[in-house]
């Protein structure tokens, strides 16, 4: 197979990680620095490096036009990756909004290091490469040619599969309708912000706010715009109207959070990667479980610290809060049940299990999927509990990372008591209010008998929701329980 000589390039690549001068290309193969220059974000290369090893790839190959391979994640379908290195086009089957993704960069790094053999292209790569060539021939706009240089800045933000790094529009039709979906989401976010603006203009005393229809219509439009998570948030917000004497404050703060998300969602491409992922999840960007399971697992002795069931519209949501014994990191596994379906009861509060968890991306990255479990659950009675001040500091740190977060886990040693007409958890440094109407207050009081005990709770903007009392001989699950007439038999 003959090799096409790569156009010789000289110049300087400016990159947030380094400024690299390169002068030549050997036999068409790129230099590592040229791959670096493609990175859309400072940490893209850092994310790609662990994947740029032959053990993470199968069926790699290259020829005069392209490089291809299948990136193997843990337990998921491998991603097909194809790169046209002559015209700098890439395709990866992953769902990342950032292009080039870490898989494409990793394949290029592998190739640049001479770890990809020249072989005949498989059908999926040949089809992709020929498709790009055919489009080029029929298109009046030529694709960018040659490897990246200082004159070809790397793109940022959302892009479809096959986006050229020079910023040219996608050259292949988007088979998944991704662009259409992004446009619909953006329109939905704009509409949401306009609606919020109207609320500010007319005021919260507007009688329309007391009608559920007002909120329901907005929520329905957000569902149509495929920002389902915001729709859920709006429905929850509707329940705050008129609930308690301070409802105006709570509703106003939540409207502020919606504005924050609507604004951030419209500027996803300009946000740092972790924050962009968190915003994407918070507005309802779907991430396939297979993609999450393709990530690197967090393996630890996971202590099941608490459980909380909450009805959200027509779905019962179970949050199971886990904390790694070694890492000390929190994680949250979600389970959903519609009417008469069952919630996941495989995690028992007060036990620990050696398992893999796969985290969703995000600034906090609390949400995770449970992977393989390497041991049977064992009782976990000795938990580390901090002070009220430590819990507050941790909540502040997390809220600063993801301001719209409305539930965070804390484990603190404190005593339940009454202060200023409401229940609080107190220690010798301070106190934190318990959410009014939290179902576990009586059980917490009975189990503690008014003494300081380790308590796992969910922090919410309205106060703590006690989930678990960790006694010396057992953990007592006192978290909110799903209505048994709604869900099926669940623990």
């Amino acid at each position: 197979m003959g090799r096409t000589s790569f156009p010789q390039v000289s110049g300087t690549v400016s990159h947030p990680l380094a400024t690299v001068t390169f002068v030549d290309v050997v036999e068409g193969r790129w230099q590592v620095e040229q791959v670096f220059a493609l990175a859309p974000r400072p940490n893209s290369i850092a994310a790609a490096q662990p994947l740029a090893v032959p053990t993470r790839w199968v069926a790699t190959g290259c020829d005069h036009q392209g490089v291809w391979g299948r990136c193997v994640g843990s337990g998921a379908e491998p991603y097909d990756v194809v790169v046209d290195h002559t015209r700098v086009r890439m395709h990866c089957a992953c769902a990342s909004r950032v292009r080039p993704c870490k898989h494409s960069l990793a394949l290029l790094l592998l190739w640049a290091r001479g770890q990809v053999a020249q072989v005949a292209s498989p059908s999926y790569a040949r089809t992709r490469l020929e498709g790009w060539a055919a489009v080029d021939e029929s298109s009046a706009v030529p694709a960018s040619s040659g490897p990246p240089s200082a004159a070809a800045p790397a793109p940022t933000g959302a892009g479809s599969a096959g986006t050229a790094p020079s910023g040219t529009p996608p050259t292949l039709p988007d088979p998944s309708g991704r662009d259409e979906r992004v446009a619909r989401m953006m329109a939905g976010l704009v509409e949401l912000d306009r609606w919020l603006d109207d609320r500010m203009r007319t005021g919260l005393a507007d009688p329309a706010l007391a009608q559920y229809r007002t909120w329901d219509q907005l929520a329905a439009r957000l569902v149509d715009a495929q920002v389902g998570a915001l729709s859920n948030r709006v429905r929850r917000l509707a329940g705050l109207v008129g609930a308690g004497p301070d409802w105006h404050q709570h509703v106003l703060a939540e409207l502020g959070m919606l504005h924050l998300l609507a604004d951030a969602g419209r500027h996803l491409g300009t946000l740092p990667p972790g924050l962009a992922d968190a915003v994407g999840l918070a507005i309802g960007w779907q991430i396939r479980q297979a993609d999450v399971l393709a990530g690197v697992p967090s393996t630890d002795e996971w202590v099941v610290m608490g459980r909380s069931d909450v009805r959200e519209d027509r779905i019962e949501v179970r949050r199971t809060w886990l904390r790694g014994r070694r890492s000390g990191q929190w994680a949250m596994v979600l389970s959903f049940a519609a009417y008469r379906q069952t919630l996941d009861a495989s995690f028992t509060v007060g036990t620990a299990v050696h398992a893999d968890l796969f985290r969703y991306p995000g600034a906090l990255a609390l949400r995770a999927l449970a992977g393989p479990r390497h041991s049977a659950p064992e009782p976990a009675l000795d938990v580390e509990a901090g002070s009220v001040a430590q819990a507050v500091a941790e909540v502040g740190r997390c809220v600063a990372l993801e301001p719209w977060v409305d539930r965070l886990p804390v484990c603190l040693r404190a005593a339940p008591t009454r202060a200023a007409g409401r229940w609080v958890l107190t220690d010798t440094e301070g106190s934190l209010p318990i959410a009014p109407g939290a179902p576990g207050i009586a059980a917490l009081l009975a189990c503690s008998e008014g003494r300081p005990v380790p308590v796992t709770a969910e922090w919410t903007p309205y106060g703590l929701v006690p989930l678990t009392v960790h006694l010396t001989d057992r953990a007592v699950d006192i978290g909110p329980v799903a209505d048994s007439s709604f869900v099926g038999a669940s623990a």
């Binding site: 005393a205 404050q249 609080v424 106190s431 934190l432 059980a443 008014g450």
Partner: protein, 265 residues
């Protein structure tokens, strides 16, 4: 009051009235004012929305512990051993599947010298607040913790005006059983198994007998429970009474379990 809190309160007032009627307040010096200066917005409603979002984040991220609160005095000590954790699970099963056993479960706790696990005290007090006898029974099982809990949570107090007779508290209530079966309450275990399982097999006892059979199993002497469960398992599966036979076997086993589980150590 902190400047941020004061600013927030002013914004709540403006948000209630709407910016069509009132201008948003000026942000206090600092980050919020900087934000307003860096991102000037054309309309009052947009400015308010921007400041509401930013201030809500500041308030949540900057949450501070409240003042130290005085802890409550604990209840008087109760030297009785707690019911074992497995008994808590048994109580949940009794309540959901065979509530006819609940009176006996609570009385067994008291008679065998246990005290209720604390996590069961609030739900049991709340469950029986309208029944003076049962509420008194729960208080006996819970010890000083019950009155202490009621003092902190008055909704757990008994609402019944009925006078509580101590004899009723100390005994399981009688359940209606037909005269032809009442003799089985004190009959030898083998005889109980023979009559009940045999009757269901032969058709002498039918589905219509279910309520009295449940009452019988709930009150029959404990020694008869195991043989009865075994005999009920052997009822011909093709008989129409197989469903009630299996249900009664489950009831017999659960009752046997709760009685043995709560035996004094």
């Amino acid at each position: 009051m902190s400047p941020v809190q004061e600013y927030w309160d002013q914004m709540v007032t403006v948000a209630l009235l709407g910016t069509d009627r009132r201008e948003p307040p000026a942000a206090p010096p600092g980050g919020l004012a900087d934000l307003a200066a860096d991102q000037p917005l054309p309309t009052a409603s947009q400015r308010l929305l921007q400041q509401v979002a930013a201030t809500a984040v500041v308030r949540r991220a900057g949450v501070q512990p409240g003042p130290v609160a005085e802890v409550v005095a604990p209840p008087d000590a109760d030297p009785r051993p707690l019911t074992p954790p497995s008994a808590t699970a048994t109580w949940h099963r009794v309540v959901s599947d065979w509530p006819v056993l609940e009176d006996e479960w609570v009385l067994t706790v008291v008679r065998n010298g246990h005290r209720l696990a604390p996590e069961l005290v609030p739900p049991l007090l709340a469950r029986h607040r309208a029944d003076g006898v049962r509420h008194a029974r729960v208080r006996a099982a819970a010890g000083p913790l019950a009155d202490w809990m009621i003092s902190w949570s008055p909704r757990l107090a008994c609402t019944s005006k009925q006078r509580v007779v101590p004899e009723l508290v100390a005994e399981v209530p009688e359940l209606p059983i037909t005269p032809d079966l009442v003799g089985l309450l004190s009959a030898p275990p083998a005889r109980v198994a023979e009559v009940v399982a045999g009757g269901l097999s032969s058709g002498a006892l039918a589905v219509s007998h279910r309520p009295v059979l449940v009452n019988l199993v709930a009150r029959v002497q404990p020694a008869a429970l195991e043989p009865l469960a075994v005999a009920l398992d052997r009822v011909d599966p093709s008989r129409s009474t197989i469903g009630i036979a299996l249900a009664l076997a489950d009831l017999a086993r659960l009752r046997h379990h709760l009685l043995t589980e709560l035996e004094p150590a």
